[in-house]
């Protein structure tokens, strides 16, 4: 066991750190759900791409630099430590792209990944439906066979980024007589196509972060099916692993926030560095605990390069950690907390974590039944 980075990793880390220091915008960009924010975030993605940093692990021909997974972790840490803008393309970059690289054709990868890396095409996820949330296999939106492709009808909801995105990916029932997980097909569709209506939904934080998507006979060519028709569930579950796991929520968000929390606490407790450990008050104990957990998530990310961690365990850990971290920060700030935009934004965002990407109760079911081997609950 060792914690030393090799020379290539150190060189890469230094390059990223240097580039971010020179390029990260001084102030926050406008919100991604606004026209200005959309433009600014896409421009930022273009700059990342020109620096070869949009998606470092992808093959070079698709806009990456074929870097090892360790480098993606290092990039994530540097990115969050530098306070760089939210990735407008994250659903495509971290969820669709790994799915395409695993299940897509060479033509699909060549057609879709480069504009995604350049920030020219932003993707939304279209999975949940009004009656298919935690129970995703209950979805009813349909893909009907038509000459040369498929026709989509139905309703998707809680679709992140759909307000600003160009295209979306999701699951549709292509064999209406098949039930549950069978007869589903994984499709990509154009959010600007005839028959698509997007209705923004204001979130708890006030932003239109997600939306409903209504589909009324929307044509999709065969070339936009990922994997085999009818095999969508299997393909989707590989995306789910990325969504719940480290791909979407790298450790950088949590270690950066935990670092800020320790700074905040230390600022309130001059002399805290004096040796050796002073007795902590209850708030200090909580600050230390969340720092430990963020550190644990970071070390688990490094460890996962050699031994995979179950995605459901990862999702439970980061989402509960995020809430605990921000709750602690608000308590440390006390009555000033509600007026602190940064911590408030982080807190409101954290509250969604235990719900999206599969509610935590579902993750506990999966962990208990598929990893621990406990018997299924009779249904």
């Amino acid at each position: 066991m060792n914690l030393d980075l090799d020379a290539a990793a150190v060189a890469f880390r230094d390059e990223v750190r240097g580039w971010l220091a020179a390029n990260v915008p001084a102030g926050p960009l406008p919100g991604v759900d606004t026209a200005d924010g959309d433009r600014a975030h896409r421009a930022w993605e273009r700059r990342l791409h020109r620096a070869g940093l949009a998606a470092v692990t992808w093959p070079a021909e698709h806009g990456g630099r074929a870097a090892p997974p360790l480098h993606a972790l290092l990039f994530d840490e540097e990115y969050h430590a530098a306070g760089a803008p939210v990735r407008i393309g994250q659903n495509g970059l971290f969820l669709l792209a790994p799915t395409l690289l695993a299940h897509g054709t060479a033509q699909q990868c060549a057609r879709i990944l480069p504009p995604m890396a350049r920030g020219e095409q932003v993707w939304a996820q279209a999975w949940s439906e009004p009656d298919a949330g935690s129970d995703l296999a209950a979805l009813r939106s349909r893909a009907r066979r038509v000459p040369g492709g498929w026709s989509l009808s139905g309703q998707k909801t809680w679709s992140s980024r759909a307000v600003v995105a160009d295209r979306a990916f999701g699951l549709f029932r292509s064999a209406p007589r098949e039930r549950r997980h069978r007869g589903l097909t994984y499709l990509m569709f154009d959010l600007r196509a005839p028959g698509v209506t997007v209705r923004p939904i204001r979130q708890l934080d006030g932003a239109a972060g997600f939306a409903e998507i209504f589909l009324d006979d929307v044509f999709v060519p065969d070339a936009d099916v990922i994997g085999e028709p009818g095999d969508g569930w299997r393909v989707a579950m590989s995306t789910a692993g990325h969504e719940r796991g480290l791909a979407l929520r790298g450790p950088g968000r949590f270690t950066a926030a935990a670092g800020r929390l320790v700074h905040l606490w230390a600022g309130q407790h001059p002399g805290a560095a004096s040796p050796p450990p002073n007795r902590l008050d209850a708030g200090g104990e909580r600050v230390a605990d969340v720092w430990i957990k963020a550190h644990a998530y970071r070390m688990a990310a490094y460890a996962s390069l050699e031994r995979p961690v179950p995605p459901s365990a990862t999702k439970l850990f980061w989402s509960e950690l995020d809430v605990e971290l921000h709750e602690t920060a608000l308590d440390v700030l006390g009555p000033f907390a509600e007026a602190d935009p940064e911590w408030v934004a982080g807190y409101l965002f954290a509250l969604a974590g235990p719900i999206y990407a599969g509610a935590n109760e579902i993750q506990r079911d999966i962990l208990a039944q598929r990893v621990l081997g406990l018997p299924r609950e009779p249904r």
């Binding site: 066991m1 914690l3 230390a266 040796p275 007795r279 720092w291 490094y302 365990a313 993750q363």
Partner: protein
């Protein structure tokens, strides 16, 4: 960067597991609890024969010259089987104290050849009693800058039945002027590994029981309330383990020179490497990593113990069932080698020190190593933390 056991280490763990699974631990522990250390001593001799007690003893002194990563592999397995006896003392802290001592003191090294394998330690305020001192071949006392030999006195019962606490009389000084810090770090690391192993055993027993035990016509493990509780335990274990491995790696980097002893050329991974590695974006000081591992492994083990007792129900509350061997072990180990509160405080102290010492420090990953003096295992500070802080800062307390 490697935070996983090697194939050799996995094989070593498997050998230990097989050996302990065949050692009738329930009987050994029951005898130990009843004041008969005979079967336990036989087990410890077998462990010594397998090289476990000599892991940290340098090769030129008859040991394996292994590092902290091998130590945590062994200690996790000992915790997994709830082996009675002063594990962290015998495997980690005492060998480390004596290995770093001048050559004249090494006659005291616990060595299988001399039949000395069980060693206990008193290091107030963290370790006020010698665990199983009445069964130990050697007791050391950390007394300021002196390391003394101790003599077992009055025995007190422990919350954990398979453990007896000896009050200790201070004997002759064996070593003087030696920083006990590295040895206490290694003991804490070993204790953390035991806790993680115990947590894993508690989860395994709970899952097994929940699969077999039926109520309301179905296995209790099919109830979501039981499933979710055990799922949470598995998450706690899953995310404590990387901290343990990281702490082992960080400790190995910072203590390998002292562990090899005087007269041995310093290796390339001496204390200086810590700064380099921190600069390389790996981790900060070994102290922070050891404290994080101790808190996380202890919390996972306590959570596992509570869940295990609840899942087992009344049968888990009996001495006929074996669960007691882990329940008590986990509770006392969590409090030894620095309480969770002490370790949390040390982490914040180190982090605040790094922040204060480098104002260009960015949050999240730019942490610099502490001053090197901060939050060391210092008896005076440990006894009177508030007073020492006042002395240092000259300011009012919190």
């Amino acid at each position: 960067m490697r935070l996983a056991p090697s194939q050799e280490q996995l094989a070593f763990a498997a050998v230990l597991h097989a050996m302990l699974a065949g050692a009738d631990l329930p009987k050994v522990a029951a005898a130990w609890a009843d004041g008969d250390p005979g079967p336990g001593r036989a087990l410890w001799s077998a462990l010594a024969g397998a090289g476990v007690t000599g892991l940290l003893v340098p090769e030129h002194r008859g040991g394996a010259g292994a590092g902290p990563d091998d130590l945590v592999i062994a200690c996790e397995e000992l915790g997994h089987h709830a082996v009675p006896g002063p594990v962290a003392e015998s495997l980690a802290a005492v060998p480390s104290l004596l290995s770093a001592a001048p050559p004249g003191a090494t006659e005291w090294l616990p060595t299988p050849a001399q039949g000395r394998v069980i060693a206990s330690l008193v290091a107030p305020p963290w370790l006020p009693f010698a665990v199983d001192g009445d069964s130990a071949d050697l007791i050391l006392v950390v007394d300021g800058a002196d390391i003394r030999q101790g003599r077992a006195g009055r025995v007190r019962p422990s919350l954990y039945p398979a453990r007896r606490l000896s009050e200790v009389d201070r004997g002759p000084v064996i070593v003087t002027g030696q920083d006990p810090g590295p040895a206490l770090e290694l003991g804490t690391l070993a204790c953390s590994a035991q806790l993680l192993g115990a947590a894993r055993a508690l989860l395994e027993m709970s899952v097994e029981h929940a699969r077999k035990r039926a109520q309301f016509g179905r296995a209790i493990g099919s109830f979501q309330a039981v499933q979710h509780r055990l799922a949470d335990v598995s998450v706690a274990i899953e995310f404590a383990r990387p901290l343990l491995y990281a702490a082992a790696a960080a400790t190995g980097r910072s203590t390998v020179t002292t562990a090899t002893g005087p007269g041995t050329p310093a290796t390339a991974t001496g204390p200086g490497a810590v700064t380099i590695a921190v600069e390389a974006g790996a981790v900060g000081s070994a102290r922070v990593d050891v404290s994080a591992a101790k808190v996380a492994c202890g919390a996972a083990a306590r959570q596992a113990a509570r869940a295990a007792l609840q899942v087992h129900g009344a049968v888990g509350y009996t001495r006929e069932h074996g669960l007691w061997r882990w329940l008590g072990l986990v509770r006392v180990l969590d409090l030894g080698w620095g309480t969770p509160s002490w370790h949390r405080a040390r982490i914040l102290s180190e982090l605040a020190d790094g922040a204060a010492g480098d104002h260009t420090d960015q949050p999240g990953g730019r942490r610099t190593a502490g001053s090197g003096q901060t939050a060391a295992w210092s008896r005076r500070d440990g006894v009177d933390p508030v007073g020492s802080r006042h002395a240092r800062t000259g300011k009012e307390g919190l």
